[in-house]
Symmetry: C2
Subunit: 261 residues, 2 copies
Amino acid sequence: MNDSLSPQALRHAIRSGAHRGNTSGLAAGFVQCNIVILPADWANDFLRFCQLNPRPCPLVAMSNRPGDYTLPPLGDVDIRTDVPSYRLFRDGKFVEETPDITPLWDDNLVTFALGCSFSFEEALLADGLEVRNVTEGVNVPMYRTSIDCNSAGPFAGKMVVSMRPFHAADAIRAIQICTRFPAVHGAPVHLGDPALIGIDDLARPDYGDAVSVGANELPLFWACGVTPQVALEAARPPLAITHSPGCMLVTDLRNSQLAVM
Amino acid sequence: MNDSLSPQALRHAIRSGAHRGNTSGLAAGFVQCNIVILPADWANDFLRFCQLNPRPCPLVAMSNRPGDYTLPPLGDVDIRTDVPSYRLFRDGKFVEETPDITPLWDDNLVTFALGCSFSFEEALLADGLEVRNVTEGVNVPMYRTSIDCNSAGPFAGKMVVSMRPFHAADAIRAIQICTRFPAVHGAPVHLGDPALIGIDDLARPDYGDAVSVGANELPLFWACGVTPQVALEAARPPLAITHSPGCMLVTDLRNSQLAVM
């Protein structure tokens, strides 16, 4: 798959089944989103959870009304078919992955599209910074922390963070760059000693892969889009549908359009 | 001296000799400047030194021509009388302090006004952050580092930094706030391990006073206005005049006017 494919062309290839799997690095320059789909009677609490926890759950777009499978702000999206792989959860438990949720769709479902770290990683790389998980070709390491999210109805839990190490001067620059992008997690929530946010061992992430950290580097920790998935597991809605890790909704929004300055 | 005195009134009190000494905390909200005065044939190299080292030497204003003792962008300044205390250097060596340089003035002198950390400390305090040297009522600790300045003619030397400790989340916020103010040193140049920039012992600053640093705090290091004084000592111009530490030029510019966004 050509990484300079337009987001429309890539989305249509996903819709037709011609592209399956990871979207990392594809349609470069365009926003990719985490997806959460919930029954309408769970949607208001989840919306409030996003509003109360904007750093792990930065809401980019949501359905205009229950049952609407379009997301006009993001392009000609049909959310039933335009994510390469979906994960189904029933009562908070993972059931299966599927490339098409059309058979499951009903007039009761509400879609949430949340910002993802791909956008700020692109901004860091464009500035000449090294992003370790990209250099090492692995998934970013992610950790459950001791930081409580603000709860909303049944949605609650600890914040999950992703970690990228930098030398001090690059860490300061990374904070400046990410501050421009609050819609894709924004600035880090922590840096330095992992134990201060309840992380025992950087070499043993709870999700993703460990990366090397140099002796003179500082770990920087960003609020992570896995946080809402953890809150979903705790809330145990009868049905929830998310993207599969790395298999995102590709949108027509440019990353630069998310910059606040 | 009333801290809500206008900058004009304070400057006039300094000019008349009614106010002597420190200007810290006075004319709150208004920019105070470090001052360097040099003979014209040394001024071009010093200007280039500032241009090459904008973080320690952020130039806010300079004379329109040699011998001009006004600085119109900064208010109705007479630089011969409007700084509470001046320091004289001959051949790079400190000679004496004086409250009035009118007897020394000639048509050959050029004035440089450089941004100072008072402005960003005010922005940090306004955001609710604790600034340790303010809390503890001492001068900020300053350290010579191993970081080379870019040299310009005879002006060269190591960067001097000031240090303020913060918890990680406040450190990230402090970086965001100071990024808005490049004209007053901007974002920190380093954070974390002092040894990485050649500082052996935080408890033994080269200038100013030590402050307490909590076990869970990170030291943040800003480029400091003492840097050009060190470069002056190395360059050894036949005459140089600076403000005395803490005795700044009070200007009519508001701190908020220096914000780039």
